[in-house]
Symmetry: C2
Subunit: 143 residues, 2 copies
């Protein structure tokens, strides 16, 4: 469904959202341990998300990654688009470049509904939901 990069990215963003409850910035090491991902790899992913403006960061001691009120409005769909692009939202299920309503592939219409449901779900799920969630849920971002 999503690339590994994207899976790690979503998990990290949810983790950071949860941790941002108490306005605390979290470091890469902490995040990697929290979501069970390779440390250097997630670092690269988070830097990319920061560059794209979905995530905030601060260098130096007491630094780390964090989300402010505005960034917490980010949806899972935003993260997926930033990392995997929008193939999953608009691409043809059979990989055809010019598949469309007027020139549909054999399973275009069946796929459409599923893509729309997924798109809606990912768009409606925002990081601030996880911000509210209790600390015990964090464990479920690992393994």
């Amino acid at each position: 469904m999503f690339s590994k990069t994207c899976e790690y990215g979503i998990r990290a963003m949810i983790y950071i959202a949860q941790q941002s409850k108490n306005n605390v910035k979290v470091g890469v090491k902490d995040i990697a341990a929290g979501i069970n991902s390779p440390e250097y790899f997630i670092a690269k992913i988070l830097q990319e998300l920061t560059r794209k403006g979905l995530l905030l960061s601060f260098k130096g001691p007491t630094g780390g990654f964090y989300l402010d009120e505005k960034a917490l409005q980010c949806s899972i769909a935003d993260i997926v688009k930033a990392i995997d692009g929008d193939k999953i939202f608009s691409g043809c299920g059979l990989g055809l470049d010019y598949c469309s309503e007027t020139k549909p592939c054999p399973i275009h219409h069946e796929f459409k509904k599923i893509r729309e449901d997924m798109s809606r779900m990912l768009t409606n799920t925002k990081l601030d939901e996880f911000h509210e969630k209790l600390a015990k849920d964090i464990g479920f971002l690992k393994r």
Copy 2:
């Protein structure tokens, strides 16, 4: 969504299903041209599907790939499982190994419905549907 290998595989199977209307075996070259895929690559994929019993083939002159009545009962889901495995049907959206009903990831329940819809759709779509379809539809398997 699916790997490139899987996309080509599905397209080829649909193409063969359509061509099997008149009990004609189709060769790799014909299939590659028909679905606009790399020739050697689709050959390898079809051999794998044949080995797994989803597709029938015959060597030598007048040989090629074909589907009999039984093989035409194959669903898109069967093809996906044979090529990409069942990650898309049962795997966690965030890539967690032990995500489950009792230990769900933060978006487990939202994902569940989508996975189920997709699974149902792919399972209910069988190759013999395409077998019935008109020849003009074939163009929509390319590009």
